[in-house]
């Protein structure tokens, strides 16, 4: 049974990790596309329109890959997590269906109109279609986050005698206190990724002395959006999320912060340290006293409950992975703020386009927002363990009882092979688009 759960979780982790490479860019990029199109309508400078159409091409490739890699996720609910789907389908089915019916259709219909219909519709309607693509992609994030928020902090439900969850209050799904901060944090993190992608393509053009005017525009836009979003992702939205974890999932909070023992008064914040699960302590720790209590409760001496106060079965089942995921996310977020602040300063001093070191840094940093986004999700998902629905349904109770671990391993290997092929195709297509460049975009 343990083997089965391990492989089911591994397969889901793999497919969702690969899948989330794509939507995290499309959500943020749609906002930047609307910005470029809106600027074009205001100043009629052609390079803004070129940029909107160029990034819509990259958006379309990402969107398509997101659709292809999203299909296995839909199936996995039934194949690997049949008990979970059976028991909670009455609730999560609502939000997942809404995601498909409202957001996906809105996004895909208007994406086609944006790509094909500029001449027919004129510029104002073309902007409107771009805005509707943005609305669709963010609504998609909203419904998925509503589903996840219910799993993290279940509300508005009733449990029947047969163990099935049914919805008792529909609006509670969308007023869930977990949802809004998680949504804002997630969407802003996707804007960070998109800003880095836009800025890095700009840096590439400027460094190669190719399509330089567009390159400078991408850099400027990416740096400004990147600075604002990387600050907002930390504060207030990241802070708000952390407070929610402390309030609703205190065991997960203690694990992600690496608090093994409850201090009498005032908890320290750990900057560096490695969890030692044998001795139940952090090795080689560098920590600042009382800061965690202040950040969480605005009280220097407030006690924060450590892992020693929880039963073993209430604690997340992979504490080192949770701890590292959280610290990698926070560490990278700090790097993003620093690099974007430096780039914004150089932009203000008119030195950004000639500072090769920062241009190379921006270009090579592009995988890291993806890593930060993914580790952010790992933090949320590992923190929720050992539950699928926090406090109510354990992960061991949601797995499909008749699917063997060998079957899951076989299909996992198949997914790895097919996704490698898809990943390669994605890189070729995006590389080709970047190589063509944004000048005089036609569809």
């Amino acid at each position: 049974m343990e083997d089965m759960i391990f492989y089911d979780r591994l397969q889901f982790a793999f497919t969702i990790t690969f899948h989330y490479i794509f939507p995290q860019l499309t959500m943020g990029l749609s906002l930047l596309i609307v910005y470029f199109k809106w600027k074009y309508l205001r100043n009629k400078i052609e390079k803004y329109n070129d940029s909107a159409k160029f990034f819509m091409k990259i958006f379309a490739i990402n969107f398509t890959m997101g659709v292809v890699t999203g299909i296995p996720m839909e199936f996995q609910f039934g194949t690997n997590w049949a008990k979970f789907s059976e028991l909670t389908g009455g609730i999560i089915g609502q939000t997942l269906a809404m995601e498909g019916m409202f957001s996906f259709f809105l996004e895909s219909s208007f994406l086609a109109l944006f790509i094909f219909g500029e001449k027919l519709m004129g510029q104002k309607l073309h902007l409107l279609t771009g805005f509707l693509v943005f609305l669709g992609s963010w609504a998609s994030g909203w419904f998925i986050l509503a589903t996840n928020a219910w799993m993290q902090h279940p509300v508005g439900y009733e449990i029947l005698e047969n163990g099935k969850f049914v919805l008792e209050n529909f609006s509670a799904l969308f007023t869930n206190p977990w949802l809004l901060p998680a949504f804002l944090h997630n969407q802003l993190a996707s804007v960070v990724t998109s800003s880095f992608v836009v800025a890095s393509i700009g840096a590439f053009y400027v460094l190669r002395n190719k399509q330089v005017e567009h390159g400078k525009l991408f850099l400027k836009t990416g740096v400004i959006f990147g600075l604002v979003s990387s600050i907002l992702v930390a504060f207030p939205t990241g802070d708000w999320n952390a407070k929610n974890v402390a309030k609703y999932q205190p065991a997960a909070f203690a694990a992600m912060e690496g608090i093994f023992e409850t201090e009498e008064a005032g908890a320290e914040i750990v900057l560096i340290g490695q969890p030692n699960m044998v001795e139940k302590k952090l090795d080689n720790k560098i920590a600042v006293p009382n800061i965690l209590s202040f950040l969480t409760y605005q009280e220097w001496d407030r006690q924060i409950v450590g892992m020693d106060k929880f039963k073993e079965e209430e604690l997340p089942d992979n504490i080192p992975a949770l701890y590292y995921s959280y610290h990698i996310m926070v560490g990278l977020g700090t790097v993003f703020m620093a690099i974007m602040a430096l780039a914004a300063f150089l932009l203000w001093r008119n030195k950004l386009y000639t500072s090769k070191a920062i241009l190379w840094s921006i270009m090579f940093l592009v995988p890291f927002p993806y890593i930060a986004n993914l580790t952010g999700w790992y933090t949320a998902e590992l923190g929720r363990q050992p539950y699928l629905v926090y406090g109510l349904l354990r992960t061991t109770e949601g797995v499909s009882p008749t699917v063997s671990s060998g079957n899951t391993l076989f299909t996992l290997l198949g997914f790895v092979a097919l996704y490698m092929l898809l990943g390669l195709l994605f890189l070729v297509l995006v590389g080709k688009t970047i190589n063509q460049g944004p000048k005089h975009q036609t569809h």
Binding site: I61, T64, V67, V68, F116, T408, F415, L418, K432, H443
Partner: protein
């Protein structure tokens, strides 16, 4: 679960078919990027629409008993979907961009 893998293979066939159609009949081509995107949606559309006739991924696996004939039908329909998607998309594009 192998059904999920089949659905991905089916989409890849749609991509290949759309690109092949684009190479063979240039007037319908959108270039590699456009053809790939249309191939994905064309194949999904055709398999989702017609797969219920008996060759969707779940019927192919038939509770563990693999049916090769249904798999071939699925892949052929997927290829037709990719190619037809390209023709259909070009027709819509031409209508929308008629000057």
């Amino acid at each position: 679960m192998t059904g999920t893998l089949i659905s991905l293979i089916s989409i890849l066939i749609g991509i290949i078919a759309a690109n092949a159609t684009g190479i063979l009949i240039q007037k319908y081509s959108y270039g590699v990027i456009g053809n790939t995107i249309v191939g994905v949606f064309g194949s999904i559309l055709f398999i989702k629409t017609f797969g219920r006739l008996g060759f969707n991924p779940w019927s192919i696996m038939n509770n563990g008993d693999f049916d090769g004939f249904r798999l071939i039908t699925n892949l052929v329909v997927s290829a037709i979907g990719g190619a037809s998607g390209l023709v259909l998309a070009k027709m819509v594009y031409n209508k929308l961009n008629k000057s």
